[in-house]
Symmetry: C2
Subunit: 168 residues, 2 copies
């Protein structure tokens, strides 16, 4: 069974964690949620989820793919060195990475998206461009291992492309 | 292309509308949201969606399947005669119907679940039993055209079974 890691934190965008979580479980993937600390985690809209593991406990070798949802969580979790190491692993090993909305803020901090093509929430577009990303305003952009979308309205095309990559 | 109708209203359980909405779109279904009135509709958790059509405008003949999510919406929409007629159509024509959480309150009002087998949010279990339902405490129950689940934690198994029925 393939294992997928979700990296998030306080004030996550609820549906951007929930949709991939249930969608990947639907296809039989083992989905693990990592946050600054294990346990109770509340989203922007008040949904409560359980973080299975803390960032420090993550061994990225054990996972086949990574999902970074949006909300206000990425601005918080991008400050953790452990998160930057985890993200670098997935890019260096060419494992599938899905980001949506503010998710790519974490990729900027990990310093691994120069020269890549992707999309995000419009409000951080210029940060991606300043980091050397070729920004594309499309519902979903697939650039090798990186599958990016803009906002919750893109959830269905985002997961469709990501699952296709996981199955490849 | 198959068309699926979602019946909901104010204070819907956000994820229980959003998950099937995006999941069905992911597989190419045309998904239409019906509510007491067209336009802006806010969920219990503050997500805002757009109702495409009002109950009075729905012609159930145009749809292949029905989804009734939970939240506080079912207690409001079950009062509409138009909703009761719509629901009856799907059961009489043996078209797939998915309910979750408080969704079956609408089926109780439509008077079409006596002798059927299903599940729901535990808090309305006794109402289902009083209406003649064989209540089963399982993540998903499939009884001919009716696919029911208990709460958001069942979303993945709920949609997996419902889509299987849609594809049959």
């Amino acid at each position: 069974m393939k294992r997928v890691l979700i990296i998030t934190g306080p004030f996550f965008e609820d549906i951007e964690v929930q949709y991939p979580y249930y969608r990947l479980k639907e296809d039989g993937y083992d989905v693990v949620i990592a946050a600054p600390e294990r346990g109770r985690l509340e989203g922007k809209h008040g949904y409560v989820i359980k973080a299975d593991i803390s960032f420090d406990e993550v061994n990225p070798e054990e996972y086949d793919a990574l999902v970074i949802p949006g909300g206000r969580a990425p601005e918080k979790v991008r400050l953790y060195d452990s998160v930057k190491s985890i993200v670098k692993h997935f890019f260096e090993k060419d494992k599938p990475v899905a980001t949506i909305c503010h998710g790519p803020q974490v990729l900027i901090s990990a310093g691994i998206i120069k020269g890549r093509k992707g999309t995000s929430y419009a409000g951080i577009r210029d940060d991606l461009i300043a980091s050397g990303v070729e920004y594309v305003d499309e519902p979903v952009v697939v650039d090798e291992n990186w599958v990016s979308s803009r906002h919750p309205g893109d959830l269905h095309v985002w997961m469709k492309k990501f699952i296709k990559l996981l199955e490849a």
